[in-house]
């Protein structure tokens, strides 16, 4: 379209196809379950925070002029990034698991490879809504049990029983503060997504 100009360098994308592909994973769970901590322990950037102001715009109204304040809500999201290679960037979104935020989960889930549901050992039931949500939408997820100090230590079978989920759902114990532990959680999720798509993973090391 425009003629080449002097600023153009060899690595300047000339078409959108040359941009990396972005993919994302969601980190869900109840209030204070360790979502931001998990994002931070594996992200290559300090978790960033952004907010979405939801107005009637999200329901298809074209202009906020005169929109009543009561139809507006702000949702804070935090996220991290992992550069996979030249062609793929992975984003991790910590998502508020409370029911009152579900109006924005459609957008969050759009294009998500899968989700980690962080279970808080001090109040296991706080992750139930997230489990219900992903089950209902058919979005692949794993449960990561964040072992808080001084809280009851569950076995993975106890957690499966409490959540009423089968053996096919991966449940991993973790410490969201530890990078190696966070990596293991993400790996188990990606492997789960791959097996749901019927593909064996090649060994990685």
């Amino acid at each position: 379209m425009a003629s080449a100009d002097s600023e153009t360098t060899a690595d300047t994308p000339r078409s959108a196809d040359e941009l990396p592909l972005a993919v994302k994973l969601l980190i869900a769970g109840g209030f204070g379950a360790g979502k931001t901590t998990l994002v931070g322990s594996v992200s290559e950037i300090t978790p960033l925070n952004t907010e979405e102001v939801m107005t009637e715009a999200s329901l298809g109204v074209d202009d906020v002029a005169g929109v009543e304040a009561k139809t507006t809500t702000t949702v804070a999201l935090d996220f991290g990034r992992i550069t996979i290679n030249d062609g793929v960037v992975l984003y991790l979104f910590g998502t508020p698991g409370q029911e009152r935020f579900w109006f924005m989960w459609d957008e969050l889930c759009h294009g998500a490879l899968g989700a980690v549901v962080l279970a808080d050992t001090r109040r296991l039931e706080s992750c139930f809504p997230s489990v219900d949500f992903f089950e209902g939408r058919g979005i692949p997820f794993v449960v990561a049990v964040n072992q808080f100090d001084g809280a009851h230590h569950y076995t993975t079978d106890e957690v499966r029983g409490a959540l009423d989920v089968g053996d096919d759902l991966p449940v991993v114990l973790c410490d969201a503060r530890e990078r190696e532990s966070g990596k293991e959680v993400l790996r188990s999720l990606v492997l789960h997504v791959m097996s749901r798509m019927g593909a064996p993973a090649a060994a990685t090391g």
Binding site: M1, A2, D5, E7, T8, T12, P13, A16, D17, L19, P20, L21, A22, V23, K24, V42, L48, N49, T50, E51, E52, V53, T55, A57, S58, D62, D63, V64, A65, G66, E68, A69, T72, L77, F79, R81, I82, I84, N85, V88, V89, L90, Y91, F93, L108, C109, H110, G111, L113, K183, R187, V190, V193, M194, M197, A199, A201, A202, T204, G205
Partner: protein, 124 residues
């Protein structure tokens, strides 16, 4: 189209909740493009008439010399993602940026992408 000399659209009663949209002249959607929060954008190195852009547009252009996601732009600009999407729509319409949407939900990335993600996580 991007001027906002007439600010009478701003409704006092709506108060601070919709205030962020003052940046876009009250527009909450960009014309033809729907950006995803992880759409990646990059500045297209074509000449552009900077005088017809708002300061926020220029800030975005300077932030996206390297590919960057909508969410990261929003975080760095401290603006809601919806506002950033509108501004990006303006820039895309002018040909000032390139944008790549994430894979459509119905067609999750092919397996080699998943394998690459798995390998990338393992390498961390």
């Amino acid at each position: 189209m991007m001027t906002r000399g007439d600010s009478s659209w701003f409704d006092e009663a709506a108060g601070p909740l919709v205030r962020p949209y003052a940046v876009t002249g009250g527009r909450t959607r960009s014309g033809r493009t729907e950006f995803d929060m992880i759409s990646l954008v990059v500045a297209a190195r074509t000449e552009t008439d900077r005088r017809t852009l708002d300061p926020e547009h220029l800030t975005i252009l300077s932030l996206c010399r390297q590919p960057i996601s909508v969410a990261e732009l929003a975080a760095q600009l401290d603006l809601p993602m919806g506002v950033v999407k509108v501004l990006l729509g303006d820039l895309l319409d002018r040909g000032d940026i390139l944008a790549r949407a994430p894979a459509p939900v119905a067609r999750l990335p092919e397996l080699n992408v998943l394998q690459a993600v798995l390998d990338g996580i393992s390498r961390l």
